[in-house]
Symmetry: C2
Subunit: 366 residues, 2 copies
DNA sequence: CAGGATAAGCAAACGCTGTTGCGTTACGTC
DNA sequence: GACGTAACGCAACAGCGTTTGCTTATCCTG
C-alpha cells in the first residue's frame, strides 16, 4: 500500500465543490445555479459542471423552473433524498436503538431493542448486525454503510471502544472492524455526543459553525463543532465534558477526581435539587462559551428531556447575566429536534458525512 | 467589491502546497525533493514545480547535494530565513514589547518600552507606530507587516479591541485599522494567548496539531490548536480560560461569577499558597484534556516563570494520576522556549502565518 | 403580432494544476 | 571505460474552474 495516491489534488477540488453544493441543496428548498455560484464563490458555468456530475450520480435532480421577470426562466435543482441510505445504531449498556435515514438524514425506519444485560462481545456484534440487517431492507437508494454511536471513550480513528477503568467486557474491542466484517458494509464508530453533533450539523448545514452539543444520557458529554469541524482530539477522546471539574474538592467522581460536572449533576438530581443540577449544566455551557466561543448550544439526551424547560431557562439566565457587558455576543440555546433518535440518527449521518461531507483539508498529510 | 473572486480554486491548490512545503522546510534541516513528495503525498515532479515557484519568490534556495550510493546525488533545499520579515508587538497596560523576526520566526531585534500609564488611544497608536518603525529598519528581507497581541477580548476578524466591562479608554477601538493606516503596513490584531500559540505552531510545524497553550500574565488564558487550526470562535473570543469556573460558589471574580480559574489562581497566590495555585492550573489543563483531548500543553507568560517548576510538576502529577486507567493517552507538558518574547514573537508569526501558512479551507464561504 | 431587451444556460477554448512517460545527468561499481 | 542506478528535467496529458461567445426562453414595447 506504499505510495498509493487514490485522489489527485484536482479530484479534491471537485470533491470539495460537490460536497459544498450538496450541503447547500440539503437545506431543503430547491436552489438555482446562481444561488450556488454565490454560495461557493465560483462561476455559474462551474456550477453547471458540478451539478452535472451530481446528477450523473443521481444525488441531485432538476426541480422545475421559475420565472422572475424577463429572460429565460431559472432552472431549479433539488437533492434526491431517496438516492442514498445509511444505517445508524445507538448502543448503550441496556439498549440498541437503530434507524435508517435517507440522504438528508430523515428517518425511514426505527427499531428499538432492550438487551437488558451487558452482552459479551460476540453476542453484542451479532445483535448489532441483526438490527442492522433488519434496517437494511427498508427503503430505496444505495446503502452506504452503518454508523455506531456509544458512550465512553471511543477511538474514532481506530474504531475501537477504549472503555473506562472499571471492569468492562467491551474494553479494547475493535467494534468497527468486527461489525464491518460481519455486515460486509463500511462501519464508523464514534462517541455518542460527537455522533449526535454530526447529525445536527448534517441537518443544518452551514448554521452550526461554532456549536456545542450537550448530551445528558447516563453520563454527561459535550462535543464541539468549531469552524465547521467536529472536534475529536489527538486520541479522539474529545467530548468528555462530564469529567470536567466545576467544583474543585466537590463530589467524588467515578473517575477518581472531585467535583466533575457529571458527579455534581448527578448528586444534585439525587438530592432532588433540579435547580442546582440545571446550574451545573449552565456552568458547563458558560465555560464552553468562554473557552472556545461557541454561539450555539444544542441540548439533547434522554435525561435532559425530563428537565429541559428548567435546564434551558437556567442556561439562558446564566448566559444573559454573564454576557451583559458584552452585548455583541449572542448565544443561541436550543433543544435538539431529534428526541430520543438523536444519537442513532447522528451515527447514520457519520456515514453520510464521511461520504458526502466537506473534506477537512486540501493537501495530504502535514 | 461585489463578486470579486481574487483566487481561483487552482491557485488555492498551488498556494496550499507552497505553504505545506514551506512548513516542511521550516523544520530546519535541508530537505530533498523525495522527502517533500512523501510528506505532501504528491509526485516528485510536482515538488520540482512547487520548489521552482518558491525559489522564484526567493523563499527557498538550493543547499548543496548529498550522495547516498550510486546514482545522481540528491539535491537539497532549505528555507531562506532572511527573505522575509515581520514585526510583532506585545501590548499590555504598562508596557510595549516589540520584535522583528525572520521567516522562520527567529528574533532579529528586540525592544522594550515601559509606558507606565494607560495612554489615550491617539497616543497609544503613536507609541505602537514609533516602536514598529524602529524595528522596521532592522535586517534584510521584505517586511510583510506587523502583528499585535494584547490581553482581553479581542476581535481578530474585525481587528477591534472589545474590552472588558470596567471603564476602559481602549474599549471598542479599531486598533488594527488605525495602526495599519499609520504604518502603511498590513496589521493583524489578536488575543495574547492565541498569538502566543500561533508563534509556537509556526516554530514547530506539524508537531503541535492538538495543543493547548496556557498563558499566565496578569490574567490567565488558554488558547487551543485543534487539528492544526487555531481556535478563535464565533466572535473570536476564544481563549478566556481564566473565566472558566473551576469551583462553583468560590472566589468572586471581576467578571461577576464565582470560582473562575483566574480568581482562584490569584487568590491562592495572594494567600501564599503556590501549591494550590498550581493545582488550579492543573485543573484547567486536565479539563482541557477531557474536553478537547489535546496531547500537548505549552506553558508560558511572565507570571508562570516564577512558579514554573512547581506548576509543571503539579500538572504532570495531576495528569498521570487521572490518566492512569488510560495508558494509551500521553500528554506532553512543556514550557515555552520563547521566554518573555513569547507573545511578541507570536504576534509577528500571525503575519507570517497569514501570508505563508496553510490555508484553512479549499472552497469559499459555506 | 412582430421586434427588442433581458436573463439563463450551453459549448468550446483557455490557463492552470499535478501526473505520466521518457530521456538526461551524475554518481558508484565492475 | 562500460554498465547499473538514482535523481532530475522536459514535454505531453487529464481535469479543474474560467472566459468568451452564442443560443434559448421569457417579458416588455410599439
Amino acid at each position: 500500500m506504499t505510495g498509493v495516491r487514490p485522489t489527485s489534488p484536482l479530484d479534491r477540488v471537485a470533491g470539495a465543490h460537490d460536497a459544498a453544493v450538496l450541503a447547500v441543496a440539503r437545506r431543503g428548498d430547491p436552489v438555482s445555479r446562481a444561488d450556488v455560484a454565490q454560495a461557493l464563490q465560483v462561476t455559474p458555468q462551474a456550477v453547471s459542471k458540478i451539478l452535472g456530475r451530481l446528477m450523473d450520480r443521481g444525488l441531485v435532480a432538476e426541480a422545475g423552473t421559475i420565472v422572475s421577470g424577463p429572460g429565460k426562466p431559472t432552472t431549479l435543482y433539488r437533492i434526491v433524498p431517496s438516492s442514498r441510505r445509511a444505517i445508524g445504531l445507538h448502543l448503550t449498556r441496556s439498549r440498541v436503538h437503530g434507524v435508517v435515514v435517507d440522504l438528508t438524514g430523515e428517518i425511514l425506519e426505527r427499531r428499538e431493542l432492550e438487551t437488558g444485560h451487558l452482552q459479551p462481545v460476540p453476542e453484542l456484534i451479532a445483535t448489532l448486525a441483526a438490527e442492522a440487517r433488519e434496517l437494511a431492507v427498508v427503503g430505496p437508494g444505495e446503502l452506504l454503510g452503518a454508523g455506531l454511536g456509544m458512550p465512553g471513550p471511543v477511538d474514532w480513528t481506530e474504531g475501537v471502544y477504549r472503555g473506562s477503568s472499571e471492569p468492562d467486557p467491551w474494553r479494547g474491542t475493535p467494534i468497527r472492524h468486527l461489525l464491518a466484517e460481519e455486515l460486509g458494509l463500511p462501519v464508523l464508530l464514534d462517541h455518542d455526543s460527537r455522533a449526535a453533533l454530526v447529525g445536527e450539523t448534517w441537518s443544518e448545514p452551514g448554521l452550526l459553525r461554532n456549536t456545542a452539543l450537550v448530551l445528558v444520557e447516563d453520563g454527561l458529554g459535550a462535543s464541539l463543532c468549531l469552524d465547521g469541524v467536529i472536534v475529536r482530539g489527538a486520541h479522539s477522546h474529545a467530548g468528555e465534558a462530564g469529567h470536567t471539574v466545576v467544583r474543585m474538592g466537590g463530589t467524588p467522581c467515578s473517575c477518581g477526581r472531585f467535583g466533575c460536572a457529571q458527579a455534581e449533576y448527578q448528586a444534585a438530581l439525587d438530592d432532588g435539587d433540579a435547580e442546582l443540577a440545571a446550574q451545573v449544566l449552565a456552568t458547563v455551557v458558560l465555560n464552553l462559551v468562554r473557552l472556545v466561543d461557541v454561539d450555539r448550544v444544542v441540548l439533547g439526551g434522554r435525561t435532559v428531556y425530563a428537565h429541559h424547560a428548567r435546564s434551558m431557562e437556567a442556561i439562558r439566565r446564566a448566559l444573559t447575566q454573564s454576557l451583559q457587558a458584552e452585548p455583541w455576543i449572542h448565544v443561541e440555546v436550543m433543544l435538539s429536534t431529534r428526541g430520543t433518535d438523536l444519537i442513532a440518527v447522528g451515527a447514520a449521518c457519520e456515514v453520510l458525512t464521511h461520504e458526502y461531507g466537506l473534506p477537512q483539508a486540501l493537501v495530504g498529510p502535514e
